[in-house]
Symmetry: C2
Subunit: 223 residues, 2 copies
């Protein structure tokens, strides 16, 4: 593959305009455009350091995975977003491991971690971007932690359904009860019971086609 | 108060040796040495931005607090440690609030946040320190999050008792069941029940004097 379109790199990486011509050239030569299918694993499950990820198209999920296979979603990233936790080898003191998977067909820009590290060492804009990104993800992770710690599961489920419906731009959420449990770090049985309760209250309907939001207002009141 | 002892500042802040003479002077003039009593609140509960904290002596606890008063401990900091989350106003994208309290009599160095911010903007060593500290706390917080999510409370309690005993350098842990519950983000009744179970298994004894570790080996096996 030839050198990537500079326009695309400029759109995704805010520090692009502050790179020198030589840095731009090196960055572009060490960035790959890759396609992923829905459900495909992008990062995690080993000592690998995939690199700085920029999303050209699609949606990905960043989550924690326990040794026993339990999951919890930390955040979702959309077109134009970037992920640095998939390049933890170049971030001093980051010692936890995340998993990244494609939630739709995706096109990703993957920047070679040592090249980005080298550029960030010479260029303040590139290193500030890295640090600001880490602080942002730290805050997002702490928000999830506060939800898990302090919020009852019925409220968390209501928030998740509303957010998921807006991500999907649809009133129908096509996720299994197990998938919802994995997002929330809960168990399938607990989610099924709570969805049944929501359904009994007329907030949603549950069918083979998925979960349909019927009364958003009532659902919002739970939040 | 006059200018602080440079030797003390050098011991606590690793970037000190890389500051210019003018920066050292400004940093010292804007750092206060303050005493706190055990149990005193140091930071949190408002929009305040206390500053960069360095511990000269004593132990502090950093924790999350819910609107309903539920707590969970994120980490403890000891002599020589520093805390930047108490200066979140100068860290871009940090949007969550932590609480900091003294767990013993303490002497703290508190650096004026805008002065530290100014120095970090001109001095790479000072800004790298800030970024590495944030990544370290991010990792520690994620470790706690994984414990909460993926680990049963009996294992977390066993880990807590062992760690607390080593912090206190004593086999006797002088905390109430409520205090332990606050550390672990649990409820007093649950902790009492579990301590009773540990006690029945001969791992600890519970009396008015506190919780005594009797069989460390067995306790370690729970971890």
């Amino acid at each position: 593959m030839g050198i990537l379109d500079f326009k695309l790199l400029e759109e995704i990486f805010p520090f692009w305009k502050d790179l020198t011509e030589a840095e731009k050239d090196e960055f572009a030569r060490n960035t790959n455009l890759r396609n992923y299918e829905k459900g495909e694993h992008i990062h995690g499950g080993g000592q690998n350091c995939t690199g700085l990820i920029g999303i050209k198209r699609g949606r990905l999920r960043v989550y924690l995975l326990s040794e026993e296979g339990k999951e919890v979603t930390l955040f979702r990233l959309l077109q134009g977003d970037t992920c640095i936790l998939s390049a933890s080898c170049i971030v001093k003191n980051i010692s936890f491991e995340i998993q990244v998977e494609a939630e739709s067909q995706m096109e990703l820009l993957i920047v070679n971690p040592s090249v980005y590290d080298k550029i960030a060492k010479e260029n303040t804009a590139a290193s500030s971007f890295m640090n600001e990104l880490i602080s942002m993800r730290f805050s997002e992770a702490m928000w999830i932690m506060e939800q898990i710690l302090f919020m009852k599961l019925d409220r968390r489920l209501a928030i998740f359904l509303i957010e998921q419906s807006s991500l999907e731009e649809s009133d129908i959420i096509k996720l299994t009860h197990q998938e919802i449990a994995d997002h929330l770090g809960s168990a399938r049985e607990v989610i099924s019971r709570m969805l049944k309760y929501f359904s009994g209250e007329g907030m949603i309907s549950v069918s083979r086609r998925g979960i349909k939001l019927l009364d958003r207002e009532k659902l919002m009141k739970m939040m």
